[in-house]
Amino acid sequence: MDAFLRATAVYVLLWVLIRISGRRTLSEMTAFDFILLLIIGEATQQALLGEDFSVTNGAIVIITLLSMDVLVALVKSRSQAASKWIDGVPTIIVADGKPLPERLRMARLTEDDILEAARRLQGLERMDQIKYAVLEVSGGISVIPQPPVGQRGRDAVRPHAAE
């Protein structure tokens, strides 16, 4: 019972903390972020296992955590609302070559982060070559390049008009 409660409490606590600290924290990892993650793992381990080093205790903790994960995945696949709560939603941060400053600020991103992602993923050089950049649920930035000059305009962002 104790191990089950510990595992559940730690699972919920970690979810809340990671959701609060923002998605970039654990995804676009720098070397330091990685070390931080290891330390968090180490601190969590103590709270999970306590002083009981038995295999049974380990099994209870592991099975509880995996069951929680399966349960959460099931809930997410059933309900889009739950999925939004648990994982968050993707956010468009560049539309038609123009970064959206308010959203960047709130997401603690800079234009440099977007340009970096654009270089790394698409080999783009400038902001105006980006059609959309999206801050994904996973924490990464995905970049959709502008179509080649000849095709531009056809697929460009257009305001909603009566169709």
């Binding site: 609060i20 939004k84 993707p90 468009i92 959309y132």
Partner: protein, 239 residues
């Protein structure tokens, strides 16, 4: 028009399964209390939807114009994405509250609200002033802590002194060691009795109990000399 809440309906082309409105900030500035939007028929949107916008009117009663309300243009028609800006903005707001709470948590931990710290150390005495008990008000489950018992000169008038602890302390705290070790430990219905030899009569003496909390929650202890009113420490043990 008097100031207050007013509703206004706007007909807009349906932009897709998620409906987002961009409301112009300069106009929002004139309207106290903000603007709430409610989309009708979220599940199956027809080609046109009615959006009911409730807005607070300005002090002079002018209705905030909603003519500028239009779908969020940064929600592109050609990008298939479950984008929900309103939800994202709520998330960001909650995150910022969360950061403040994390900061408060760290400060609380630093001052000892979760054990080990200036706010946690405290002292209690028995009514007759024979003993003083220094202990941590906040403990943590299974984390070692100490109870420091000080015997005042008036308590060490004989060669041996008998200290009683109630059951809350002896059962919910695992006593790891006692320094100096008692000469005798006896069980009584309401707790335990410890008898210590006194080195110098009429001098103060210190006894340290190293303990580990075994239960979670409020713990009301009694520590005293036999035949005298006890000191009543009260501990709270975090899980």
């Amino acid at each position: 028009m008097p100031p207050g809440r007013r509703g206004i309906g706007v007909r807009l082309p349906s932009p897709g399964p998620t409906l987002l409105l961009r409301l112009h900030r300069p106009r929002l500035a004139h309207c106290r209390g903000g603007v709430t939007t409610r989309a009708a028929g979220r599940a199956e949107l027809p080609s046109w939807v009615w959006i009911y916008i409730r807005a607070r009117t300005d002090t002079d009663g002018t209705m905030v114009s909603m003519g500028q309300a239009q779908p969020d243009q940064t929600h592109p028609p050609d990008l298939e994405i479950s984008h929900d800006l309103a939800f994202q903005q709520r998330t960001w707001a909650v995150q910022r509250i969360g950061w403040v709470m994390m900061l408060l948590f760290v400060v609380a931990a630093a001052v000892g609200l979760f054990s080990v710290g200036p706010l946690s150390w405290t002292q209690t005495r028995d009514p007759e002033g024979l003993i003083a008990l220094e202990y941590e008000r906040f403990g943590r489950y299974m984390a070692p802590t100490t109870l420091r018992l000080r015997l005042e000169p008036s308590a060490t008038s004989r060669d041996r002194v008998a200290v009683r602890m109630n059951r809350a302390l002896t059962e919910d705290l695992e006593i790891q060691h006692i320094r100096p070790a008692p000469e005798r430990m006896t069980a009584s219905p309401d707790g335990m009795r410890f008898e210590f030899d006194i080195a110098a009569r009429g001098e103060p003496a210190n006894i340290t109990f190293s303990v580990r909390p075994q239960s979670i929650g409020r713990l009301r202890g009694e520590v005293g000399l036999i035949g005298h009113e006890p000191a009543r420490p009260s501990l709270f043990v975090y899980p």
